[in-house]
C-alpha cells in the first residue's frame, strides 16, 4: 500500500509549459487561415473590379435608370 507521493508543486507551470505553445500555434494558424481565406480573396476581388471599372459609363447607366435626383434621365 505504498503509493508514490504525487506532485505537490509546479502544477500550473507544467500545464502552461504544455498548453501555451499550443495556444500560440493555434492562434497563429487561425490568423493565417483568416488572412489567406478571407482578406486576400477580398482584396483581389476589389482590385479586379476596379481594374475594368469605367466610372462614366456606370454613371450614365445609373442616370438613364433614373435613380438620381440631381440629374434626370436624358428623356425628361
Amino acid at each position: 500500500m505504498s503509493l508514490p507521493k504525487p506532485a505537490m508543486r509546479g502544477l500550473l507551470a507544467k500545464r502552461l509549459r504544455f498548453h501555451l505553445p499550443i495556444a500560440f500555434a493555434l492562434s497563429l494558424v487561425a490568423a493565417a487561415a483568416f488572412k489567406f481565406a478571407v482578406t486576400e480573396p477580398r482584396k483581389q476581388a476589389y482590385a479586379d473590379f476596379y481594374k475594368q471599372y469605367d466610372a462614366m459609363k456606370e454613371f450614365n447607366a445609373m442616370k438613364e435608370a433614373g435613380v438620381f435626383q440631381s440629374v434626370r434621365p436624358s428623356g425628361e
Binding site: Y46, A61, A65, V67
Partner: protein, 173 residues
C-alpha cells in the same frame, strides 16, 4: 392555462415522491421524507461528504447488534459478507451507486420539447388572430420595383447584390 400547467407539475413531483417512498424497507431507515427534523444530524449520500454524520441504520436488530459486537474485535476474523453487512449498516449507497446516472434527462428533454411545441402553437394562433396586416412595402409588386431600383443603383457591385446580376443579359448570373 397556467393553472393546468402548475397542476401537471404538482402531479409529477407527487408521483416521484410516492415512487421514492413506496418500498417498505425505507421504514427501518433514518429517512423521514415528508418532514425532516433539521435540528438533529441527518444522514446524507454525498460525493463530497464521504463520512455522514450518523449511520444509516439507527435501530439495530439483534443480529445486527451481534455483528457490531464482533466488529469490536480483530477485523481479520470478519468474513467478507460480514464486512459488507457492516458497511451497509453505516452507509446506504456506495460511491458507484451514488454516481450512477438516471434516465431523468430524457423526461426533462421531452418535457422541454413538448412545452416548446405548445408555445409554438400559441405563437401561431397569435400570428393568425392577433396580428394585423403586413405593410404594403412587402407586397410582391413593391418588392419587384424595389429590386429593380437596387440593381439600377448598383448596390454592392463587388461582392453582393448587383454583383450577381448580369447587366448585358439582364438576368441573374
Amino acid at each position: 392555462m397556467l393553472a393546468s400547467r402548475a397542476l401537471v407539475r404538482g402531479l409529477q413531483s407527487g408521483f416521484w415522491r410516492r415512487v421514492s417512498t413506496s418500498s417498505s424497507a425505507w421504514a427501518a431507515h433514518t429517512h423521514d421524507v415528508d418532514v425532516i427534523d433539521c435540528s438533529v444530524p441527518q444522514y446524507n449520500n454525498r460525493l463530497d461528504t464521504p463520512l455522514p454524520d450518523i449511520p444509516f441504520v439507527r435501530n439495530l436488530s439483534a443480529e445486527q447488534k451481534k455483528l457490531k459486537e464482533k466488529e469490536k474485535g480483530p477485523w481479520t476474523q470478519l468474513t467478507k459478507e460480514e464486512k459488507l453487512a457492516i458497511y451497509r449498516l453505516t452507509h446506504e449507497l456506495t460511491f458507484p451507486e451514488m454516481k450512477k446516472g438516471s434516465k431523468e434527462w430524457m423526461t426533462v428533454l421531452g418535457g422541454i420539447f413538448f412545452f416548446l411545441g405548445f408555445t409554438g402553437l400559441l405563437v401561431w394562433w397569435q400570428r393568425v388572430f392577433v396580428y394585423g396586416d403586413v405593410p404594403h412595402t412587402l407586397s410582391q409588386e413593391w418588392v419587384e420595383k424595389q429590386t429593380q431600383r437596387m440593381i439600377d443603383m448598383r448596390v454592392n457591385p463587388v461582392h453582393g447584390f448587383a454583383h450577381k446580376w448580369d447587366y448585358e443579359k439582364k438576368q441573374w448570373k
